[in-house]
Amino acid sequence: MHFPWWHVDYLTAPMLIAVVSVVHVLVAHYAVGGGLFLAVETSYAYRTRNRDYLAYLRRHAKFFVLLTVAFGAITGVGIWWTIGLASPLATRVLIRTFVFAWATEYVFFILEIVSAFIFYHYWGRLPEKVHATIVWIYGISAWASLVIIAAITAFMLDPGKWPADHDFWSAILNRQALPQIISRTGGALLLSSLYVYLHAALTIKDAKLHALIESRSTRPALLGAVLITLGGILWHVLLPPSAQAALYAAPVLNVLMALLFAATGIVFVLLFFGPYRNPGWIYSPGFAAAVLLFGVIGMSTAEFIREAVRKPYICYNVVLGSQMLTDEVARVRRQGFLESGPWTRAFVQTKYPQVMSGDGRIDRARLLALPKTGQVELGGVIFQYHCNDCHAVRQGYSPAGPLVQGWTPAMIRALIRDLDRTRFTMPPWAGTPEEAELLAAYLADVSPPQPAGMLPGDPKTGAR
């Protein structure tokens, strides 16, 4: 509402955030867990004077740097890029609130970059103690950046007392922070072990070395699975009621939850009975790839669920999916949705100057005097700014047209009027009754007719 809305056909702009985020977390968690793994294992290899293991760790460090410092860093910036485009109001609130948390995270990023490059490029040249210290600097910095970003994303699910006091500490020490830090730490440990496991399976032929890597990498993986479960339970217990309800009510989220538990369970069982209890038992790149695939499925699913349970909010009780602050709804409803946003108002003013009153405001009474095509077009403007955050138009991601397929105009009007009560995962309607008529006209226009041939009904048209 405050900013122009970016219309992305079929997918919807916010789904781009989901795509970039999922891709990023799969590498970002490895960047944290892999850093801790390299820190622990390099120290261990130096301590035990295991040259073969050191040689492997060096090879792994190259893969690690190539993947995390380039792909991880760019996709991380990519999330930021995308949220600014697809959800500018929420981004503004987050940046306004957490600017110094982000600045602090940036400090850790710099430490990560410098230490990662020195650790890899000066391998074999630095004294062992210094070399190990540098990789620990990396590991601790990476985990610190995870703590900060987990607390910020947790704020989006439960901002605690922040809406009342706007205090930084209320925001960062929110109730969801600890569960997310625990589960993300677990995710980082688990996922990084799976990367190591696959990398080793692909690059190592020596069975003895492989058995060592299996046993060394499986322990943090199992610990990770336990932390994910513990964090997940805490996350669930502390969820706001609406998020809990959304989790139970949406069939897709039920399926995804089952998938998440199944994937985590499968990974745990495979690792426990495979490399942990019987090192060398199943020793193939295919098995390692399968375990990583289950880990990736679990991680991606968890990210999607985390995003989805917030509906109708982008930030719980702060920013709505309809791109307005919660405390703006009453004013916007009074003033009119089209009138309240600079871009919607400008559209009306340019395209339909006849509805503007003498004082330069939209005269809501004149909206319904427009010809039908004009009403549908303005309904389309309202749809873009009020609904397109979660719904594509005719086809694509949760398209609005098919959702009201076969509905009568009265049913559509009733839905709009009681939007949040019809479905609590939708934001409250924030327009005037006249604007509800415009939106209803648009939805009726984009919805396909009732499918023909459905019984009982008219065998020819499907009509009642």
């Binding site: 405050h2 900013f3 122009p4 809305w5 970016w6 219309h7 190539l66 410092v69 380039a70 860093a73 760019i74 910036v77 930021w80 890029w81 995308t82 600014g84 485009l85 500018p88 981004t91 503004r92 940046i95 306004r96 600017v99 110094f100 948390a101 982000w102 600045a103 602090t104 940036y106 400090v107 990023f109 710099i110 430490l111 970059i113 410098v114 490059f117 020195i118 000066y122 040249r125 630095l126 540098i134 600097i137 706007h166 205090d167 930084f168 602050l325 946003g341 600079p342 871009w343 400008a346 559209f347 003013q349 340019t350 077009e377 389309g380 403007v381 749809f383 873009q384 700014y385 397109n388």
Partner: protein, 380 residues
Amino acid sequence: MDPKTLVDTSMALGLPAPVWFIELFKWLGFSLHAVPMNLWLAGILVSMILYVRGSPHGRRCNARLMAQMPVIIALGINFGIVPLLFVQVGFAEIFYPATILMAWFWFLVIVLLLPAYYGVYLYAYGLAGQGDAMPRWKRAAGWISALLLLAIGFTFANAMSLMENVKSWPDLWQRHSFNGAALGTALNLTDPRLWPRWLLMFGLALTTTAVWVAVDAAWFARRESPAYRAWATDFSWKLYAIGAVWFAVAGAWYSLGTWTPETRQTMFQSAWAVLTVATAAAPAGVWVLLWLARKREGEIGPGWASLVGLAQFGVLGINAASRQVVQHLEIGPYFDILHQRSETQWAPVAIFLVLFVLALGLVAWMICQVAKLPAKPDAA
């Protein structure tokens, strides 16, 4: 349509820090980011041309620059976070609409950056592993990276000029929208400021690359021959001359040909004229320093190179300050950050600053560990 009505200043969120703090960190962050960004913007292209021209020293310079480039790009991306963060803190009202109008192109920056970065890695590792026997496709990766990074620079110039060019928003929006929502396909191509702005940045990037060649020769090329270091000093001076002339021409076009009369009057006739003169003249100072190094010693020494490096950072800093002032003047009629309300919580600021200082200490410690190392035994 009055473009001013498209800038929504109704949100009463306030600023999380005083305006001076935001401005200071935006300026400092951009100045720091400009160093590695300049190096990848012009450095890769220059380095690839040096290889094609085929002189042994030129090829050596190409190898050195490209081997350093992965680290330079990593630092540049991270240094870029700071100015972007503070732009969004202070200028959200104009930054978001501008980037949303050109959303797909802005998004493309990330998409292009990935192959550009991996292209540099391919080239650098190819060079390290195979030297001149590197296959053509790896060589091509270097060229592709250079072109992609130039395209990314152009997109940035587009976004930053669109942010200042609020009066072009209504037309771009109307031509690139669907039911009032932006399609994200608008580019600010008709803005007269766009091309000189991009070219000016490229000229500046040439000068920074020139200085880096000299600094690298003095500080990090201990294993290279004295003849290479002398060549690098000479090349640095010549490249700087080209960059400075380029910068002067593009700068004159930008300031005399595209600024509004009000901006011109302020930047040329008020106290800000001192900054304008400093911005224009500063590169000449660095060029003189390089000329003196070349004339006096043949090859540049570490002390003099450090002085040149600091002076170039000053050039970038003055340029960033000047552009920040112009940005204020251009967006002033639509948005005024100076009158924004701020509600500062100093504890998080203090934690950030303390950690920042500690981190700088740790970085310095790590670099010292590397600096203490003897040269590689297998060195050339």
